[in-house]
Point group: C2
Chain length 245, copies 2
DNA sequence: GTCAAGACTTGATATTGATCAAGGAACCCG
DNA sequence: CGGGTTCCTTGATCAATATCAAGTCTTGAC
């Protein structure tokens, strides 16, 4: 990236960012936003499949996805990975380092992605004087916890069919929240990543997509998904605490 | 409980509490501790199987287990429950309310239990003037997130054998941390609860315990567990991020 | 444009762990 | 102390999903 491009990117402040209402700045006053903005680092974009951090790396910032997508995951000695979450534009990741000051999981991009870094020590200092920021951070942290809890329920109690339906509904509601179509979107992740997120085999993901298509509940072609029957998807999920994650 | 007993219990300050080094007060100075202590509510003990909060209840405090044990869980429409975590003395629960101000999961006691309530609005105010408290809360929240992540890896990628081994190691290390034996302890939860935590059937839990006993890895009688071969248990867990949860 | 590598799909078979069923042990209550 | 209830264990069978094995489609590199 050229110096000119870099400068241009840096100029996109939180205040001008279309995602600010989903992101850390939500609920802040103009003055507060300006103070926060001064600290935010905006790294350049990265390609797909680039690692952002890994276990043992120093935790120095929360990250916010601006464009593209990120997965966080753990691995077993044997190599299998468990995807902990997919992070779409406006969503935060990297909180796993808060316990020890070192990250405990991996974070990698799903596609060409740009993201902001919100330095932890700066945020900590601002928390002292900006109650709204403190509350927004608590809100985001609580959201992460609840998303993990919904994911635990999915992995522990749902059948493969229910898991895939939950997954589609979650992605759909998150696209909708950002102003995109809830029924027609492009999945940013591979079948393999979906399988690792849902704790099932890739082959099963493939078969289940086909089964949903055969029942005219969805139309799927590669990564393009069209939801034809949202009610049917909702009925498949017997989950009593389903919400946007 | 009589008034006299209640008063006596209230007098057990954080400073005098043997668990304070595991709990919220960790790392605070004497002066800070006194300020915090003034706000802490110490409800009386409750029996086993008592609900502490449920989804929709107002979130007004973090809770810290003093004696006994607590489980937090979600349920599906069909009734199955997924246990999100077991909380032993010195451990915190109730953070799930931070997102919306309402709890999202259930919390219930496993046995006769006493716990403290740490009012959220008071903690928030103290955070403004006590950086150490702020950091300790971040540490605890990060710990919760990491515990959930380890649990996700367990549910998504481990076999039933590995899950039970992970569970025993987790409980063992937590007893050890509190100064008790790591190899001989009484499980505070039922087989059913273990099954709901591990995402497997009760019958499977029973069979796996027997199998571990037949291999002379553990000795188990009702809820009394003796670990005979800790190395064997560790080897069963191919998890690369295993730590005390 | 062609080739190679990777991603995805589809089919056949295997296996883990669920479910169904029953009996035994501990515990609570009167 | 006795009887019922719940918890736990054990056995037999079944089903969901993993695994193994090809084969096809995409995509990117040269």
């Amino acid at each position: 990236m050229s110096q000119a491009q870099l400068v241009k990117q840096l100029k996109v402040s939180c205040e001008a960012c279309s995602l600010s209402e989903l992101c850390l700045p939500r609920g802040l006053t103009h003055d507060e936003l300006v103070k926060l903005d001064a600290y935010i680092e905006r790294p350049r974009s990265t390609d797909a499949n680039t690692q952002i951090f890994q276990p043992g790396d120093e935790f120095h910032a929360f990250y916010a996805v601006r464009t593209g997508g990120v997965k966080t995951y753990l691995t077993q000695k044997t190599g299998e990975q468990q995807i902990l979450g997919f992070h779409l534009p406006g969503e935060i990741f990297g909180l796993d380092g808060m316990e020890t000051g070192k990250h405990r999981c991996y974070a990698a991009t799903l596609e060409n992605t740009s993201y902001c870094a919100l330095p932890y020590d700066k945020l900590d200092g601002l928390c002292e004087v900006m109650p709204d920021l403190r509350h927004q951070i608590c809100h985001l942290v609580g959201h992460e916890l609840n998303a993990d809890h919904t994911h635990l329920l999915l992995l522990g109690q749902q059948t493969a069919h229910e898991r895939l339906a939950s997954f589609l509904l979650s992605i759909s509601s998150r696209f909708k929240r950002r102003g995109f179509s809830a029924t027609s979107f492009i999945l940013p992740m591979s079948r393999h990543d979906i399988a690792c997120y849902l704790g099932i085999a890739v082959e099963t993901v493939s078969r289940l997509f086909k089964s949903l298509q055969d029942k005219d509940i969805i139309q799927i072609n590669r990564k393009q998904v069209d939801i034809l029957d949202m009610d049917a998807l909702n009925e498949m999920v017997s989950n009593c605490s389903e919400e946007d994650v």
